[in-house]
């Protein structure tokens, strides 16, 4: 029995509560999904996708190249011209509804595969990623035959073939964010999942196949960066949608320059989470934890810069450290787990690089003493205090469970500090004072503001950034405009 402040504390472990994997169906090898058929990659090459929680191989996935992308775009063009763009909108909607239902029916399987392939906790895959993905299809399905209500005084047309490239942090959810509005607006799709997390997109392809969606309306081409580049550079693609890092986003923006292709970018962030002294501190601490450690910090809108009002800083930091010690790091399939595996070895190296830089810059690091599984990629939740605005760890996106903590005294000071970044994706504000919330939500230059909450998502709620966090919105009414041509 340990003691804390002379109060005896019972140290007890949770009994493991593992989600079963016996019901999931994973093939040993996946081909490309082009024109409604499973097609071998023209290069004959496949790559392995592993479980980052234990480094075991899950499956082999086709490595699509330029030729395969060309086939997919041709299939998408044909489906667009002959079927999808001329189908009555209400019928289009019914196909999308059907996909949503089939996803719900297979929700458990999708959640388990997501956790296996991405390393995220089963609680999150089950309660957030998969339901949101299903709901996204439900939401946009209903828009298909109501588009003229969304754009007053304009005539709405579809764009054509959309090339979509998605990241590894929310693999199925991002596929839903991209595919659902594109289809609803009457476009066809060539989608490339991330190389470390292709499986749920391929399961989605199976669902799409089962739904009877006309061949070629959705094509899934797995591969690496060069596969994505082939999509971006294909001359018969009319629209590019990309979610990922700001660096790659800039490369894509440059590649698209002068081509007339429509473009939306959801890029990086370094979002501020601001705690005022009148905030309900315990809720705020939960909000901070959720803000930065949700999905191991692999969240573009993660609240990675914490600003605490000086007079409550000691209290908040003490409570945070306390809370860090109660977080459960380990097997993502365990329903007790709060922090799962880092998505890849490469990403773990990036995070560790930044942790090293943070220490070298003179910031003080705090990590709880938690045991780390021997196999797999893990990073304990990490706090940095004594952080300067100029520190690299306070400026660059780390994309891991690393929080920098700074303090402030006045409202104006924290607005300046929060906005002093090239990014502008999201921000959090914690205060009991309504007028202050509206002051801050107005002045923070970011696309999503969470007031007294954090990391909430919904299909009806537009998401997207200011400045170098990209342009265009996904979700809600505003998400439609990324996939329509207005005349």
């Amino acid at each position: 029995m340990a003691t804390k402040k002379n109060i005896p504390v019972v140290e007890w472990e949770y009994a493991p509560s593992l989600e079963g994997t016996s019901h999931i169906q994973l093939k040993k090898q996946y081909d490309l999904f082009i024109d409604g058929k499973w097609v071998k990659p023209s290069s004959g090459k496949y790559f392995q996708t592993i479980n980052p929680a234990n480094e075991e191989v899950l499956s082999e996935v086709a490595y699509g190249n330029e030729k395969d992308v060309d086939l997919a775009v041709k299939a998408a063009r044909k489906a667009y011209t002959e079927v999808w763009s001329v189908m009555p909108a209400a019928e289009r909607a019914k196909y999308i509804y059907r996909i949503a239902r089939l996803m719900q029916e297979r929700a458990r399987e999708l959640a388990v595969i997501e956790t296996l392939d991405a390393g995220k906790t089963i609680r999150e895959s089950r309660d957030i990623d998969v339901p949101l993905a299903c709901n996204h299809f439900f939401y946009y399905a209903g828009w298909a035959d109501k588009l003229e209500y969304a754009f007053p005084n304009r005539k709405v047309e579809s764009i054509g073939v959309a090339g979509q490239i998605i990241p590894w942090n929310f693999p199925l959810l991002m596929a839903a964010w991209k595919i659902a509005p594109a289809l609803a607006a009457g476009n066809t799709v060539v989608l490339k999942p991330a190389e470390t997390t292709p499986l749920t997109a391929l399961k989605l392809a199976e669902i799409i196949e089962a739904s009877g969606l006309p061949a070629g309306v959705v094509n899934i081409v797995t591969g690496f960066g060069d596969t994505g580049a082939a999509i971006v550079n294909h001359t018969d693609v009319d629209k590019i949608a990309f979610t990922g890092s700001t660096n790659v986003g800039k490369m894509i923006q440059k590649a698209v320059a002068g081509t007339g292709k429509k473009l939306t970018l959801e890029l990086g962030g370094k979002s501020a989470n601001i705690i005022f002294d009148d905030a309900p501190i315990d809720q705020a601490v939960e909000g901070i934890i959720n803000g930065i450690f949700f999905n191991q910090g692999h969240v573009c809108c993660a609240g990675s810069r914490l600003f605490v009002q000086e007079n409550v800083a000691d209290k908040v930091i003490a409570k945070l450290k306390d809370r860090l010690n109660s977080l459960y790091l380990g097997n993502p399939l365990d329903k007790n787990t709060d922090i799962g595996a880092i998505n890849s070895k490469e990403q773990l190296e990036t995070i560790n690089k930044y942790i090293k830089i943070g220490k070298q810059e003179g910031a003080e690091m705090y990590q709880p003493s938690c045991s780390i599984p021997k196999k797999g990629f893990y990073c304990p939740p990490t706090l940095f205090t004594n952080v300067a605005q100029s520190n690299v760890i306070a400026q660059e996106e780390i994309f891991g469970p690393v929080l920098t903590i700074q303090t402030f005294r006045t409202v104006d000071e924290v607005i300046q500090k929060a906005n002093n970044t090239p990014f502008g994706l999201a921000a959090g504000v914690w205060t009991d004072k309504g007028s202050r919330i509206f002051n801050l939500t107005t002045k923070l230059r970011a696309g999503v503001i969470w007031a007294n909450t954090y990391n909430k998502f919904d299909p009806t709620s537009p998401f997207g950034g200011y400045k170098e966090s990209g342009f265009g919105r996904e979700g809600g009414l505003h998400g439609l405009s990324s996939y329509v041509k207005l005349v």
């Binding site: 800039k250 002068g258 696309g447 007031a451 919904d458 709620s461 200011y466 170098e468 919105r473 505003h478």
Partner: protein, 293 residues
Amino acid sequence: MERLEVLKTYKIYIGGQFPRTESGRYYMPVNKAGKALGNICLSSRKDVRNAVSAARKAFGGWSERTAFNRGQILYRIAEMLEGRRSQFIEELILQGSTKKAAEEEVNLAIDRIVYYAGWCDKYQAIVSSVNPVASSHFNFSVAEPMGVVGVVAPENSSLIGLVSLVLPAICGGNTVVVLAAEHLPLCAVTFAEVVNSSDVPGGVINILTGSNKEMNPTLSTHMDVNALVYGGNDSAALKELQENAVLNVKRVFAYSNNWAKADAQGLHFVSDLQEIKTTWHPIENIGGATSSY
């Protein structure tokens, strides 16, 4: 003895001031008849940077004005332009318009300013939304100006093209740096004088004359410019702007409308230059009172 006419020195407009270009350079565009239009400032890269600084400085104040007040100020621009009708018509004729075309262009410019003055306190209600999220949160999305907008005015229009691109930008709370039509610059300079006498705060509209080829790279690579509007029809120039925009992920909008048409205006010219911001807040969900009493 015939009275000697007092000629006008055409200047540029930065931060509410009328300096000549800091470079001291000029160029002399000529009209179709071969007559020189005047010594026009050949603005430099430094002028572009000064204009961007002025626009950034003005952004906070302008974007925080009430929508009503912005509408009043835009309407005032129309009033001032109306008072200078004859001057604009003369300049348009000097630059090659027929009298009839010049009159029509000025009329349309005034009407278009009134049109956008009216949008100032209305677009928000149309492009905003309250979103029915599936959790106990109040969630709404509102439009906010993008910030500093670089405007490359159409090359084939002296007045109406400039007005058509600048007004929707400032209607939505942005501030602008405008590169005037290189070979038809007179109305841009006179428009600056109208703006300056219209209660528009200094720095909200900044207008430079000179070589677009020279100024485009500075404007499009500037890290404090949030968006670009291109009104020209040179695809190579547009591509250059789009490539340079990558540096800080600028939003680029290219319009190729015939601005002389009465319907070449609309809400989307305002809403294109708006960001959508979504705010979430929890809804208290305790207590026994219901709305069914």
